[in-house]
Subunit: 337 residues, 2 copies
DNA sequence: CCCAGGCGTAACAACGATTACCTCATTCCA
DNA sequence: TGGAATGAGGTAATCGTTGTTACGCCTGGG
């Protein structure tokens, strides 16, 4: 049942020293072919496996990277993680995933605990802007999706503001004058930037930003549903909706469908499953979480390989995918009540 | 920039021995209040953090559990992982996630590498049936979603066969005689069981299992689309479809929608986003990945706590949620060509 | 024929914390 | 009052691997 085979056991079986056995295992060339053969034979006869904990302790770093996202269950982050895991696998690294669940102190605690494990690097979706907690250590960090306060590190984000601007311009081009905005809390950087893009587009066209058409407290689909209902019940309801996040889009879509409001245009920031199957199909701003994950992993690996150049700021452009819902023209008079 | 504080540094600062400092840190009661205070003071003055690698090496196990699923990006598994992570967090454990991506040898390699890290336990969605690779070690393992070959361990699954039977019976009750079955490869246990449930239901009603109505090679939505098209193009097409997995449902739904075949009934094994927003809304067999994850974590933790009772086989029942698509009655004559 | 120098190896320490075991008082009870 | 029990704390060994240093052996140039 239990038989921990140590390196010294292998060495004994191969009639050599532990250090030499270690050399063989780590591919050190300074070992004679004969000795190498004996060690290798002993290794698989005894079924020896390196103890990675001991190895990491000795080496000072663990072959592991830590990933912190907001929610693992969110399809967006799940895709990011999946891609990071793939990249890590290719490099022989393990991935420890954690989520901050938007809890205020979790992030610092997680980083702390990961550093106690001596992770080789970190990929973080920053939630708080106070990043003092990782100030002093030298662990390479790459931030994704959002910028860290003013912590000097690589960042990979989407062109949130530009994308939002594009999306709203698209709606305006079809003649909409009253475009609602629905998003998560503006405390979250992505929401803030997308909101800024929304404002940009309206102002370009000389349109006012109407308070009753802006809902920025939708942290989940349920809230998005509630707010969308309120929009539709306004005396002068919007003729188009720009949803700043897939999650909120799910809520908005649900309401539009329930009320059979196929006359209201909509664009979603972020694609989602079945967006193309709905009637009308939903026009989206396509963002690739896979690409985000891949680029982040690449940056981190470069740092692990000793790249000490200045922090790189990678911005991923977005593409608008017209599918129907974004090309609906405003109906004559959309009085709701 | 770098200042590794060791336990002995703390001890020195508190004018005591490393052992006593260790006692304080691990909450050993046999330390005087005064000494304890001095040590604690030294700890936060120096900013000491335990080196978890060193601790784990000494203790023999790491405060980490390994999770192996098929795909991290799959919303189903993402939810499972998220729930496991939450449970692990509460217990102070880290979670290393990996995916086998259905590659033949990955699973064994992953388990191997996780055991080399001395993970405290494993939660696995077995892909291969040959589990010899984890035979000899004593690491607690809990299998989820599928049964391991005949490896004695806790298993948490859904009532796949019973659920499928319920779903198909539901369709038959509405008068369908030609019910198509669409699933992943039958090499995957869940698919096999759901197929068995499908057959059960047909046989109960004295209906034949028609080969041309059974597609069991849909590993992704694209394949499901293709097969659904073939179904609809049959001389005598099905009047209802039972999709054995959310992923295949996405494909089937897409085709039905594109062809505007609102006359074809459908039930999906597994809920998915927007299933209730489609027209018609999709009747599903609701399975809770969160519950699966939670129960698996609970089982594992019980084992970690020294539970040595016989392996437990937990089966989670499923609930049919009628939403419309499953209650469509067969149309008079559904000739397609 | 001698010595520098490279190669293969061995012995040992170190990584940082914990555990097993031991000491020295003090206290409590027969 | 003797002696066991209890409390507080220390010393050294250990976890398994790898970096360091040193040593013996063999080869080739002078």
């Amino acid at each position: 049942m239990k038989k921990p085979v140590r390196l010294s056991d292998v060495a004994a079986a191969a009639e050599t020293s532990a250090k030499t056995a270690s050399r063989v295992i780590n591919g050190d060339p300074r070992v004679s072919a004969e000795t190498r053969r004996r060690v290798e034979e002993a290794v698989d006869r005894l079924g020896y496996r390196v103890d990675l904990l001991a190895r990491s302790l000795r080496r000072g770093v663990d072959d592991t990277i830590g990933v912190i996202v907001e929610s693992i269950a969110d399809p967006f982050f799940a895709a990011v993680i999946s891609e990071i895991e793939l990249a890590a696998l290719r490099r022989g690294l393990n991935v420890i995933v954690t989520s901050n669940r938007r809890l205020p102190n979790r992030e610092a605690a997680i980083v702390d605990s990961l550093q106690q494990r001596r992770v080789a690097g970190l990929i973080i979706t920053p939630h708080t802007s106070d990043l003092s907690y990782l100030a002093s250590t030298g662990t390479p960090v790459v931030f994704v999706d959002r910028h860290p306060g003013n912590f000097p590190a690589d960042v990979v984000t989407f062109d949130d503001r530009g994308g939002a601007r594009t999306a709203v311009r698209h709606l305006l081009r079809y003649g909409h004058q009253r475009v609602a905005f629905i998003s998560d809390d503006l405390g979250v950087e992505t929401s803030r930037n997308r909101h800024a893009g929304y404002v940009d587009a309206l102002q370009e066209s000389g349109l006012p930003v109407v308070g009753e058409l802006v809902a920025t407290d939708c942290s989940d689909a349920a809230m998005a549903r509630a707010r969308t209902c309120e929009f539709l019940d306004l005396d002068e309801p919007p003729t188009a909706i720009f949803s700043a996040r897939s999650e909120t889009s799910l809520g908005a879509v649900k309401v539009l469908h329930d009320r059979k409001r196929t006359d209201i245009a909509m664009v979603s920031f972020g694609d989602f499953a079945l967006a193309d199957v709905l009637s009308p199909a939903i026009t989206v701003l396509e963002q690739s979480p896979e690409l985000l994950g891949r680029l982040a992993a690449e940056r981190l690996f470069a740092r692990l390989d000793g790249d000490h150049s200045d922090p790189v700021n990678t911005v991923i452009p977005l593409r608008l995918v017209p599918r129907g819902s974004g090309e609906i023209v405003p109906s004559g008079g959309g009085a709701g009540a």
